[in-house]
Homo-oligomer: 187 residues x 2
């Protein structure tokens, strides 16, 4: 989409930047930015965050490979598609194959990129890569890291719809990935 210049605001001038604390999932910094509308300088947080990937994986029977895990932010057990952080020096596609294998023991020979989103451009600088893996099969044992305790399940199309409708599946990045593959309209 090409946006005519009169329909775009201006970029903000970066006046200064302070290092902030290590947040384990990101490194904070505070940027001092000049609002072109008012001339005022504001201090805003930016979380330097590695790129993420997640994987919509279907088995040969059309069942979605999901992971259930206790999530520390919401203190709740979620149902999600597999995914994680792209390691330093790793390509997003490698990370997607690795996360599918480590978190679910599944592998696939039929991969495609579904799209790339910004998880929250207001304060994260990273992207999340959505991949599709067709014909996924359980070929490996799970390789969970010390911060994980995951149960794998396979959901048929009706269970996926029911999970989305009930809010059992409600991680925004999971919804974003699934919207490339399933019609999620409710109105």
């Amino acid at each position: 989409m090409s946006v005519p210049s009169q329909n775009r605001p201006e970029a903000w001038e970066l006046v200064a930047s302070e290092a902030g604390p290590d947040l384990l999932v990101a490194r904070a910094r505070f940027d001092h930015l000049r609002n072109p509308r008012t001339g005022e300088v504001l201090r805003r947080v930016v979380l330097d965050t590695r790129d993420w990937v997640n994987v919509v994986a279907f088995d040969d029977d059309g069942r979605l490979v999901v992971v259930r895990q206790y999530r520390f932010g919401t203190a709740r057990i979620t149902t999600e598609i597999p995914g994680g952080v792209v390691d330093p020096g790793e390509e997003p596609f490698e990370a997607a194959r690795r996360e599918l294998r480590e978190e679910t023991g599944h592998t696939s020979e039929d991969w495609s990129l579904l799209g790339v989103v910004e998880p929250n451009p207001a304060f994260h600088d990273n992207r999340c890569w959505h991949y599709l893996a067709r014909g996924a099969r359980r070929t490996h044992e799970l390789e969970l890291d010390p911060g994980e305790d995951i149960v794998v399940d396979l959901l048929g199309p009706e269970a996926v719809r029911e999970g989305l409708a009930s809010g059992e599946i409600n991680h925004s990045l999971v919804v974003s990935a699934l919207s490339r593959v399933l019609d999620l309209r409710t109105v």
Copy 2:
């Protein structure tokens, strides 16, 4: 979706919790949690974050009301639907009406809730409420806060699809909200 207990992992025991820094958009804390699989205690960040709202608003001609703004996380001008933070003591629906009016000058008499997602349950504790406003009209001047410089635009259905396909519209919470109203499948 009701999940049989053998398909669910256990909750993690909260062993301790330390206060962390104020990040402007959230307050960090560090929880010490015991992994039920290994017995080990891990330190994990949680960002205490107010709930967010965003609004899929269509005018009487079926055009989507969008906002363009410079985003500090990605240092890029984005195209998004209006939205923001639910103020203390405010209901999500009030916040949605307020954000639509303040950021775009539009109001509507025809509102519905599209759904609620967790932006990132791995480390945020909040939810994002997606609303639909039909028949939105420009009735007010913009009321931008000092941290905002917003340009409003109206996109027809083709421009919305083009924006999603090109990545011009790629905020995951915007995609999640739009997936309730538009078929976003690409495969």
